[in-house]
Symmetry: C2
Subunit: 330 residues, 2 copies
């Protein structure tokens, strides 16, 4: 958290005042929310016959965000990363809960701005805040649980990929990692797309909402392409081939040249793009359906027999040093 | 966290090894869990026509637990406090997600024991771990999201109480606060019921599972009787009268004598007993149904018109200094 938020201009607030200050930023929930913040539990009405899709994600000061983040960006990112997983599962996000832990001296203004950044994304994503928790802690952290729904026949897992499936990817890679580096170097322009990708990633909800009709497996790229593709392959008991020339890189990443851009695109984490394994016959319809929603899907490789992950360059296979991406303990 | 857990006997583990070490302690989920830990999201099958009941709760090292807690007790308590809210809402707990934040040097043994304490309670409560998240942080914290279900006509909120309703309470009060004091003083015997109430509170799930058939409103006592009853009254726009002689106190609390026991029973937090407002005609059936499940319900007062909270002693009303209970920021 930026140091200035630790200044105490007002006496520290009680837990209940903080809850009220925070929840005030959020729009009233829809008719599917019977009880929301302020009750012991949230009561929500699931769509009949659909599966419940749930996910918890956490961002911690100094680990997932630094003092370079504005409060709005912290709030946005905490929700964005948890929504992204729901999109990868082909789910429609509906509701979310937030556990906020923070030092005592955090100012009202900081908390309001944090709530505002989260609330703005919540409105765009049409998800309702339905519950939360405040706690004192020595560092700021936000734990977001997202709840969504998927038709049973459309819910995606990591384990559904089969040899022959195409690998389709949303957006472009490497931007968030480059943005992180620039923020660390202090050379960041906030208008840079790479810096925006790091500060306020966009969960690919439009694609997630239709992905279940076309894809056989899905994952979101939080830890880097190689590592997350590795997870998908492991769970599906398959291998994969990636075509280097087909991997879309963020413009600023590509501009760095091949040697510098490749590690960012392959192993840079936090892009929150979605990767799907899609049976061949459904590739074209999926790409068209995404395009109608303004989303580009790139075909970056294919699922193969075995366990190996191979990268194909213009002159044949390129050796992969390891699958390692971003590991918060690594 | 106890200092000995910070000793590094082995090199720090990666995120994925930790996840595997943690999830290993938990039993396989039932057929209502289609995807659990290891996928991007949990996929679970809700009971048709029931409401989803969700709650997030967080416990933080140094705020909600101290070095006096064994790892098993930390794991137990994190899940217990989140389950308790579901019971207060008249819900059947089904699934839960855990976000674990911890310093790098935490040992495998500590993590396994923490998982074991949580897994034991999960088995008793018949809830399945369906997802989680690991993150590095400077202090240990556990954020638990519990997901449960309630029939729409049986889901309880804080806002359902009406003048004339009886106030029914599970168990007895003050034990957890006394246990906390004894642990702080270093004078705790671990076999003491008060100390157990602090270290490993028992969520009243047997009562929660039937409460919706009888009660009109419910809340769990995490912040102390007066404060939590205050919340219930505020949301229901009613007042309440408590009969001092009827308030069940933990044996060790009562043994302290009237002057010392009263603040513990009225304002001591963390007992995780359940308080219900119950229409008169349903009091006796509710008490009998609870008794058949081995649970005692005490009638401690009633809901009245107005907004005031009054405590009735043998010689008439006893002044209440304030409603304040346990506020983590207070």
């Amino acid at each position: 958290m930026p140091a200035d938020t630790r200044r105490k201009r007002r006496p520290p607030r009680g837990e209940f005042e903080r809850i009220s200050l925070f929840t005030r930023a959020f729009a009233d929930a829809g008719p599917d929310v019977i009880a929301g913040p302020g009750d012991d539990c949230a009561l929500t009405r699931p769509a009949p016959g659909w599966l419940l899709v749930s996910k918890v994600d956490q961002i911690v000061e100094g680990v997932h965000f630094s003092g370079a983040f504005r409060p709005e960006e912290i709030g946005h990112k905490a929700l964005a990363v948890a929504l992204s997983d729901l999109a990868a599962a082909g789910a429609i996000p509906r509701w979310f809960l937030v556990a906020l832990a923070m030092p005592e001296g955090v100012e009202d203004r900081f908390l309001s701005r944090l709530a505002m950044g989260m609330s703005r994304l919540a409105s765009q994503a049409r998800v309702s805040l339905v519950g939360g928790n405040f706690s004192r802690a020595s560092e700021l952290s936000l734990t977001v649980t997202t709840l969504g729904e998927a038709r049973p026949e459309h819910a995606l897992r990591r384990s559904g990929a089969s040899p022959g499936d195409a690998l389709l990817l949303t957006g472009s890679l490497g931007g968030a990692a480059l943005g992180l580096r620039r923020l660390a170097e202090g050379s960041a322009r906030r208008s840079s797309a790479a810096v925006r990708a790091q500060l306020t990633p966009t969960p690919r909800l439009e694609v997630g909402a239709i992905a279940g009709r076309y894809a056989a497996a899905g994952i979101d790229l939080s830890d880097g392409l190689l590592q997350d593709l590795g997870h998908l392959c492991e769970r599906s008991e398959v291998g994969a081939e990636l075509e280097l020339a087909a991997i879309p890189m963020a413009r600023e990443v590509r501009a760095l040249g091949a040697e510098a851009s490749l590690p960012l695109a392959l192993r840079g984490g936090e892009d929150y793009e979605l990767l799907f394994a899609v049976p061949q016959a459904r590739v074209a319809p999926f790409v068209r359906a995404a395009a109608r929603r303004g989303q580009i899907l790139s075909r970056i490789g294919r699922v193969v027999e075995g366990h190996a992950l191979r990268l194909l360059g213009p002159d044949g296979p390129i050796p992969l040093p390891d699958r390692k991406g971003w590991d918060h303990f690594g």
